[in-house]
């Protein structure tokens, strides 16, 4: 990280090739330095969380919007004539059928037998008007 500040343009490009194995972006050395700094820190400390990445992608495409299931929420979905009630505990744990689940999508798969987006299945994900 410290070395980045003193590297020349060529050195920065070499560093990028070594790190990413992809073509060097056509940007200024200072921008490249920022990008390299980000990559190094992301490797060491972990980058943007999956949830945040998904959220940014969703916001970028602006086609759907997903509401987070907040603690204390009860989600009700009718499927094949049965109403399924999923509760999100105050601790954020998803409970259904007297069991804890890791995600709403798992619950949706259990109910329908096919892969569903949990938020979509339970009505948390809405299509935005075009």
């Amino acid at each position: 990280m410290v070395a980045l500040t003193t590297m020349s343009s060529a050195q920065l490009r070499d560093e990028w090739r070594a790190l990413k194995a992809s073509p060097v972006p056509l940007v200024s050395p200072s921008m490249l330095r920022l990008a390299l700094g980000y990559e190094l820190q992301a490797q060491a400390l972990g980058g943007l969380s999956r949830v945040s990445q998904q959220r940014l992608t969703q916001l970028g495409s602006a086609k759907t919007v997903t509401q987070a299931a907040r603690p204390g929420t009860r989600l009700i979905r009718e499927w094949n004539g049965t109403a399924h009630i999923v509760t999100i505990g105050e601790d954020g744990v998803i409970r259904w059928n007297d069991r804890e689940w890791r995600s709403l999508s798992e619950v949706a798969r259990e109910i329908t037998g096919t892969r569903w987006s949990g938020p979509a299945f339970f009505g948390l994900k809405k299509r935005l008007a075009a």
Partner: protein
């Protein structure tokens, strides 16, 4: 022989005859002086000071000479007050009792030269009280008579005095039209019917420099010559004098004077005005109204007004200093986002109800141990209703919200609190309890924010759309640049923006993940906004330095 200092007090109600060289006041004083002289053998001598109240009623003690006399009595310069008749001093029993008390304290007695009685005996005091009762009766009857006369005169359509409304001048017992002024009045009615809005009328008049004409009052003072105020316009639009009537309390009589405006114009104006009467305070009966309307003040006691601005379909609500709202700008004026301060208030209140026992102790309400469980459940239910922002409940509980630069104070109505905890208040309980909530006001740009002491915004605000837009844009542009196929210049051209903007925005793709998480969740510090993100001069590479730079997670 002791010298007895006598002060002669004279009074006359009406001004009639006061201009004469020898008037009633002189006559009273002369008679009193003669009496004092007759008592010279007792050591009486009149003071040179003259205590004359000409043209002042005996109904009040607010008379300059009497006040001067009382001051001299207090200073011990007077031994006896000499009056012509007792009712010269006062006609009111209550005031008389007050005066006697003052006299007794100073060891001063008083003498009425034409009514001889001795107030040192019970019989003398009875006589005096009877006399004063009649004096007061006389005064009240006179007042009634005058009131009846005014009512009867107005029923006949007479003008009974006072400042005449714009457009008229007094003409004996009626009014005469002053043509240039009447034109202004007609013009105001016409404008109001055109615009249907008093504020716009005022704006127009001000813009066209149409001012109130300069008029002269009966005492020779001039007034007018300034811009019309909204209140004046309302007064003109509602004054039935202009349609030829004389108002008396809630009645209207046909006046003797000529009307300035026609009946149909009057009717149309009144219909329009009636249709614009403000409704009930919204806060009590709508979900989205301003909860604290009418309750919130700043630390100097100036009221903050609930105001809003609309951008498209979005309504931005604020509480704004009264002076700012009415166009007087001031550097100390406040403009606080409504939701933030409402949230702070609601949270502080709900937190207070979490510990109802402490609340009751502070209000010195006694606690019966059998009630504890019931009180806790009632407090819990109340706290839930508070968090739901039940407007009626909040307006009952909160007497006042005071915004200080470093804290928020909430005056909690003790009686309402006791009612919701279903306990009885005690006699020694204060009417209100002061809850304090440590928040501070921060300015970001021109905006004033209310933040918690750790710098985070009060309301877990919905994420800032403009900041997120920037982040999304940064990610998208960096993804394009990262392929190494396009230069910043080409990208800027394709997007229709300048190159430096692309550079500034793309840098945001390298923000520390925790900053992006905070922005996505609306948890960023109140000082961080889209402008600050995009215009930061040198974005540090290191994430820890970025956090420090944007004061995230302090």
């Amino acid at each position: 022989m002791n010298r007895v200092r006598c002060a002669i007090y004279t009074r006359k109600s009406s001004e009639e005859g006061l201009e004469q060289a020898f008037n009633s006041l002189d006559a009273q004083r002369e008679a009193c002086a003669a009496y004092v002289l007759s008592q010279a053998s007792e050591g009486w001598s009149a003071l040179p000071d003259i205590y004359d109240d000409g043209g002042l009623s005996g109904g009040s003690l607010e008379r300059p000479a009497l006040q001067r006399l009382l001051a001299d009595i207090a200073a011990g310069r007077v031994d006896i007050i000499v009056v012509y008749k007792v009712d010269r001093l006062t006609r009111s029993l209550l005031d008389f009792a007050k005066l006697v008390e003052v006299f007794d304290k100073a060891g001063v007695s008083f003498v009425s030269i034409t009514q001889s009685f001795n107030t040192t005996t019970s019989m003398g005091r009875l006589t005096l009280n009877m006399l004063l009762s009649f004096a007061q009766f006389e005064r009240e009857v006179t007042a009634e008579r005058i009131r009846d006369k005014i009512a009867a005169s107005k029923a006949k359509g007479m003008w009974m005095g006072g400042v005449p409304p714009l457009g008229y001048r007094p003409d004996g017992r009626t009014l005469e039209i002053v043509d240039p002024h009447a034109d202004i009045v007609r013009d105001i009615y016409r404008r109001y019917l055109d615009l249907g809005n008093v504020r716009l009328v005022v704006d127009q008049l001000t813009a066209e420099r149409i001012h109130t004409p300069v008029r002269r009052m009966a005492n020779g003072r001039d007034f007018g010559g300034c811009a019309f105020s909204r209140g004046q316009i309302y007064a003109i639009l509602k004054n039935p004098i202009y349609v030829g009537d004389i108002p008396h309390r809630d009645q209207r009589h046909k006046g003797l004077h000529k009307a300035i405006i026609g009946q149909e114009v009057w009717d149309a104006t009144q219909t329009l005005l009636a249709g614009h009467v403000p409704g009930l305070r919204r806060a009590a009966n709508t979900a989205s109204g301003s909860l604290l309307a009418g309750l919130i003040v700043d630390d100097t006691g100036e009221k903050l007004i609930a105001a809003h601005a609309c951008k498209g379909k979005v309504r931005y609500r604020y509480y704004v200093s009264h002076s700012t709202h009415h166009g007087v700008s001031d550097s100390k004026a406040l403009r606080i986002p409504a939701r933030e301060i409402e949230t702070a208030t609601v949270e502080a209140l709900a937190a207070a109800f979490d510990d109802p026992i402490a609340l009751m102790a502070r209000a010195s309400i006694p606690l019966a141990s059998a009630d504890v469980e019931r009180i806790f459940s009632a407090a819990g239910a109340t706290a839930v209703a508070i968090c739901r922002r039940d407007p009626e409940l909040l307006r009952a509980l909160v007497a006042k919200v005071i915004v200080h630069p470093t804290m928020l104070q909430i005056e909690l109505v003790t009686a309402a609190m006791a009612k919701h905890l279903s306990v009885a208040t005690s006699a020694e309980a204060e009417a209100t309890l002061l809850l304090t909530c440590p928040t501070r006001l921060t300015r970001t740009g021109h905006r004033l924010r209310i933040v918690q002491n750790d710098g985070r915004a009060i309301a877990a605000a919905p994420p800032d759309a403009s900041m997120i837009k920037l982040l999304v844009k940064a990610q998208r542009w960096w993804a394009q640049l990262q392929r190494g196929e396009i230069t910043v210049q080409e990208l800027a051209q394709a997007e229709g923006v300048v190159k430096s903007y692309v550079t500034r925005v793309v840098r945001l793709a390298f923000l520390a993940p925790s900053i992006i998480d905070d922005v996505l969740a609306g948890r960023q510090p109140a000082t961080l906004d889209a402008k600050r993100l995009a215009f930061t001069a040198d974005l540090p590479t290191s994430w820890t330095e970025q956090l420090r730079h944007f004061e995230v997670g302090r």
